[in-house]
Amino acid sequence: MKILRVVVTGGVGAGKTTFIRTISDTDVIDTDKRATDETANLKPQTTVAMDFGTLLLPGKDSLHLYGTPGQARFEFMRDILIKKAQACVVLANATREVDLLYARSVIELIEGQLQIPYLVGLTHTDLLSGGLLDVSAALGEAPITNVNVTDKTSVKMALTKLLEQL
């Protein structure tokens, strides 16, 4: 029985907590608090430490999913969590340029120091009216997939794609 630790990170409101809630077999441990900064324009609650969910894989292995907060002031939490991760999902709201830039900074961290498999999950792609932002300019050759974080099948597909790299 192996346990694989996967970190789900990305910008504010990209869908990290929802991603984990959608797929977890167990009740998700969250640390949501009322948002009082500009985050409140996006959503009422925000993660201030981490989310934790689990998923049984076929066979006896299981995934432990750790979600990070999205705001820059919580970067230390991301650093703590990602250090022990064996793979990483970087979610980016495809309608927000800042999210793509944030994703790129995480990719640089992963490719530079951690060297673990990762996958960029583009979220909110249904809200794109004026066409996709220039994702390839921001993210280059990074492995990318679209993901609907509220849909179990879609989240599962993204995780499968990530685990194929292991």
């Binding site: 608090k33 009082t36 201030v48 430490a49 919580f74 230390f76």
Partner: protein, 122 residues
């Protein structure tokens, strides 16, 4: 309306008045500083975020392990204490104290300052 200057002066009085207290920060539950009196090199933004993370994780662990509602989170290091308490539902208080601090007195002082600060953020 939260009176920031009153918060700040209450904190300032607390830090300079209470024995062995070296610093304090009042932050929102989502990790934004409301007022702080911190030792020189400590970054306010980062300290505020850490305080919120720590208290929320501690409360969550308390619940998960059936410890009832959490009174305080204490980090006891070689060089002193970091104590986190809720200050009503809208703020978190971090208090830094030296290793020479007497715990009983420290916790009592913290209870008193929480009593003063809570109505100001409520």
């Amino acid at each position: 309306m939260i009176n920031i200057s009153m918060l700040q002066s209450e904190l300032q009085n607390f830090v300079s008045g209470a024995s062995d207290v070296q610093g304090a920060a009042l932050v929102s539950p989502d990790g934004l500083a409301l007022a702080s009196v911190l030792p020189g090199p400590m970054d306010e933004e980062r300290t505020a975020a850490m305080s919120a993370s720590m208290l929320s994780l501690g409360e969550r662990i308390g619940r998960e392990l059936s410890r009832g509602s959490v009174e305080r989170i204490v980090v006891e290091g070689e060089k002193g204490y970091g104590v986190l308490v809720s200050c009503g539902s809208d703020a978190v208080l971090l208090v830094l104290a030296s290793s020479g601090a007497k715990q009983g007195i420290l916790f009592l002082e913290i209870k008193r300052i929480v009593g003063k600060l809570t109505p100001l953020v409520g």
